[in-house]
Amino acid sequence: MASQDQEKRAANLLRQSLRDSGDDCPGPDILAAYFERSLDVEESAQYERHLVRCTRCREQLIVLDRAATPNVAGGAPLHRPSFGPWRWDWRWLAPVAAALLVAAVWMALRPTPKRAEKPPPLVAMSQPEQAPAAPMAPESGRENRSAPGRVPAAESSPNLTSDLSPPGKPSPRATPLPSHKQAETDSLVGGNASASSAPTSENGAVRAVGGRLEQGATASDAEIISREPATMETKSQTASTAPRVSVPGANVALEAVHRRSTKEIISTPDPKVLWRIAEGGFVERTQDGGVSWQAQLSVAGAQPAAGSAPSETVCWLAGRNSMIALTTNAKDWKRIPPPVPADFVAIKALDVSTATVTTADGRKFTTSDGGIDWRPVP
C-alpha cells in the first residue's frame, strides 16, 4: 500500500472518518486554559477527545493561535515553541523558587545593568485624593501571574524593563508591579509588546448590540446565565482593611525582587516626604516617611535614573533617552526639553528654576529658568 494513489485513498478515508460528533462544546474558559497548557493531564485529554471530533472547536483554537502569534511577511505565522511539561504541578516550582531566591539575593547585591529603551511618551498619572492607608503592609503580596510551571523571575527581574503600557491604579499599600501586567498584555498580542498609549476616548466603543452575549454564548454559558445571577457591588461597601501579608514559599523570592526593584530614593527637606524611582518607569511619593507610597508618574518605555527634590512639592527627574521632567506641585509632571539628546545620569536641583544635569558621558548643563534655556557647565 505504498503508491500515491493508495496514499490519497487512505487520506480520504481518514478525512471522512474523523468527522464531527456534535458534542457540546466547552466554553472559552476551557479553550483558553487548554491553549495556555494550564489544564491538567486528564482535563487536556478530555478536551482533546472533544477536539478530535469537533471542527468548530479546532477552528477556534486555530484562530486563537493566530491571535497570539505575530505574523511574518507573507502571512505565515511564526513557530511557537512548546511550553514544556503538561502538568502544572506547583510542587515542581520548589527548586525553581529556590533558584529564584538565590538569583534575587545576588541581584540585590549588584547594580542593575542598563538596558536600551525606546523613547518614552510621558504619561502623568493623576493621583486621586486619598488618605494614606492604614497599617503598612509589606510590599507586595501580588504574585507574578505567569502560567504555572514557568520561571516567574523572568517577569519580575529588574532587568526586564520592556515597553510598558501606562499603569493602572496601584494600591497605595502594595508595590505596583507593572511587569506582570505587561506580561499579560504581551501575551494578548503574542509577545509583541509595545508601549500602548494612554486611555483615549474611542468613538462608538460601546454600542448596544443587544443579545450579543446570548449569541456568543455556548450551551454551558447559557446554563450559567440561568442559574448564577450577577451580583453587584454597592458603592457604600468598604473595602477590606485586613493587612496583606506576604505569601510564603514561591512568593518570597518575588517579594525580594520587588523590593529590590526600587532604584533610588529622592529626599526632600522634610524627612517624611520622599520620592522614589521604581522599576518600570514608575515614580512614587510618600508623605508618611515610606509607610505608604502613591504612584506619581509612569514614563512608558523609559527609566528615570536620578532625581532631585529641593522641596516637598518640587522634584526634578532625569534619565535615559533625553528624559527630564519636573513637578512643582508634587503631582503634575511636565516634560522639560533637554539641552542635548543624551542619556542623563544625574541631576541636582536648587529650586523650581535651577537645576544641573549630567550626561552619561560626563557633560553638564544647567538651567536657571526651569529648563527653558540650558547652558553647558565648563
Binding site: F35, V52, I62, E143, P172, I224
Partner: protein
Amino acid sequence: MAPRPANSSIEVNSAESERASLASGARFLGSSALSDAIERCWQKAAPPEEWNLSREQFSIALERSTAHHFKDAPSNDKTIEAYLRTLHVSDLALARACSAGNSAAWEFFMTQFRPALYRAARAVAGDANAPELADSLYADLYGLSESQDRRKSLFDYFHGQSKLSTWLRAVLAQRHVDEIRRARRMQPLEDDARAEYQEISTTTAAHASANTAIDPERARYLAILQAALTTTLDSLDPRDRLRLAYYYVDDRTLAEIGRLLGEHEATVSRKLERTRQAVRRRVDSALREEKKWTEAQVRLALEYACDEWPFDLTESVRSTHCRLEAAAEPDAASAPD
C-alpha cells in the same frame, strides 16, 4: 467613549446579601479546611483598595469558579485546594471588580487590556471587521442592562483558569468562528452553484445505484471497512487522533499543528507518519484476522471507499441501506468470499 458605571443606583447589591449568597451557595468552599486556601488566594490576588472588592465578593467568585470547574465531578478538599492554587486570582479579582462596575478597576482594565484586545481582534478578523468584533465584546464585558437594578457582565463567565488576556482572546476566537460558520450556512447558493449541486446529487445517487448493481456487496464492504477504521481511530491516543484531524480535516500545516500541540514541526511530521502507519496496520489486521478477508478483498474495499465521492462515506453507506451496526457484527459465515 470609555464606559463608566452610569449610575450607582444600578449597583445595588448589599454586603449583607452577598454574604448570604456566599453562605447559601458555598457548596464547595464552605469547609473550614479550605478557609486557609481562600485566604491565600485573597492575599495573592491583593486587589487595590480603590477597586472596592471585598473579601466576600472575591470568595463568591472563587466559589463560582470552583462550582463551574467541578460541577458534577467528585471533589474533596484536597482537589479543591489544588484547583484554587492554579487560579489566576489577580485576574479573577479584576474581573469581579469590573463586573461590579468599579470605575478604578475599569480604568485599569482599559489601560492594560483594551488596546491589546483590539489588536487581537484585528489579528483575528482583519482591520475591517475588528472594531465590530472588539466593540461587541467590550459592550458585553461592560454589561448590558437587563433591568433597572441588575447588569449582567461577560466578566461573570471568567473563572480564572487561564489568564484574563487569553480568555478574552478565546472569546474573540469563538465569536469570530461562530460568525464565519453562521455565514457559511446562511450563504445562498448562486443559481449556477445550485444547479451544479443538484447535478452532483443526481450523479452521486446514480453512481451509488450503479455501483450497487455491479456489486451488491459493495455497501457491506464499505460498512465493514468504515467500522474497522472507526474502531481503530477511536483506539488512538487522543493527541494522535487530534494531529490527524488537524492535518486531514482542517488542512493545517505542520508548523501550525506544531504550535497548536506544542510540538516541533519535525515531531508533528514524524508522529503523523507513525500514526498513519499504525492505523493502516490495525485496519489491515482487523479486516484480515477478525473478518478473515483476503488481500484482494481489502484492496477492493479500499477502492470502493476511495472512489471520487463528494459526500461523507457514512452517509453514502446509509443511503444504500447498509447499517453500520449490522455490518459491524462478527459474521464470518456470511463474509464475502
